[in-house]
């Protein structure tokens, strides 16, 4: 981030110094909080959708404070698409795996046949897996939506 700020001073892009320093400090903690919300969907209000949006907003904050190519350096467009597909595939994959292993579709207790954790434990763990998949998918879609809409498809300068 430090080198980043020198570069921005030279090319005069992005917001004023105060905002850039604030964002520079904030982004890691926002991402940590996003992960916390995804993982703690069981015990506190939250879950895949909300956590994914918070994670996505950390990249949007970067793109607003500096410029879009900075946030694209942090997460390349290809990696973003891969993450989006990975998230959705985790969800549908776990669901189809339950059917393949012999239970009903989306019946996590059927996964007990692979690793015997006990059917109810598997349900809780299945929900956790699914929340992670949703979080990944929502994060990557939010980022790609913002990048595309703000740069109207050119993916270069942004707002």
């Amino acid at each position: 981030m430090k080198l980043l700020q020198e570069r921005t001073q030279k090319q005069q892009i992005g917001q004023s110094l105060i905002i850039q320093t604030a964002v520079r400090q904030l982004v890691p903690f926002v991402q940590l909080f996003g992960l916390y919300v995804i993982v703690h969907g069981h015990y506190s209000p939250g879950g895949g959708f909300q956590g994914g949006v918070i994670l996505g907003s950390s990249f949007v904050m970067l793109a607003l404070a500096f410029d879009q190519s900075t946030s694209m350096r942090l997460m390349s467009e290809r990696a973003n698409v891969m993450l989006g597909n990975a998230g959705v595939l985790i969800f549908t994959g776990v669901a189809a795996l339950c059917a393949i292993v012999g239970g009903l579709f989306l019946d996590y207790s059927a996964l007990d046949a692979i690793i015997p954790l006990g059917p109810v434990e598997w349900r809780s763990f299945g929900i956790f897996l699914v929340e992670v998949g949703v979080g990944l998918a929502v994060m990557s879609i939010m980022i790609s939506l913002f990048w595309d809409l703000s740069s109207a498809g050119e993916m270069d300068e942004g707002l």
């Binding site: 015990y43 506190s44 209000p45 959708f49 939506l145 595309d148 809409l149 109207a152 498809g153």
Partner: protein
């Protein structure tokens, strides 16, 4: 007259969501500017979300996150806890509303790139030529 007032006071949340919905519905049909139609659509969908969530309210109810061990030991009285089902349904409806707004904005950007305007009658004029 006062029984009508009593009915309104007892169910005022349904009146609010109907008024909100009609504002959105009018904007969707009546407005000429495409972005205003989109804003109307958002109001319309938010009003439906308000209806569902307000249906799940129980006076004096607590939020549906329970202490796992205490519940496993001695159960729970359902009338104390707010109805969780509308919240689940509306999480889905919110995601749908976000996706449709994203798609509509992308299409508006493309229309603006091709016609240079977002007023419906100007676009039809350009098409008419």
């Amino acid at each position: 007259m006062d029984d009508l007032l009593a009915v309104i006071v007892a169910k005022y949340n349904y009146w609010i969501y109907v008024i909100l919905m009609m504002i959105g519905f009018y904007a969707m049909i009546g407005k000429r500017n495409l972005v205003k139609k989109l804003i109307g659509m958002n109001i319309f969908q938010t009003a439906i979300i308000l209806m569902f969530v307000s249906a799940g309210v129980k006076h004096g109810g607590k939020i549906p996150i329970l202490n796992k061990y205490e519940v496993l030991k001695n159960g729970i009285d359902a009338t104390q806890i707010v109805n969780p089902l509308p919240h689940v349904l509306m999480l889905t409806a919110i995601v749908v509303s976000v996706s449709i707004t994203g798609v509509a904005l992308a299409i508006l950007l493309r229309i603006y790139r091709e016609y240079g305007t977002l007023e419906e009658d100007e676009i039809l004029e350009k098409l008419g030529k």
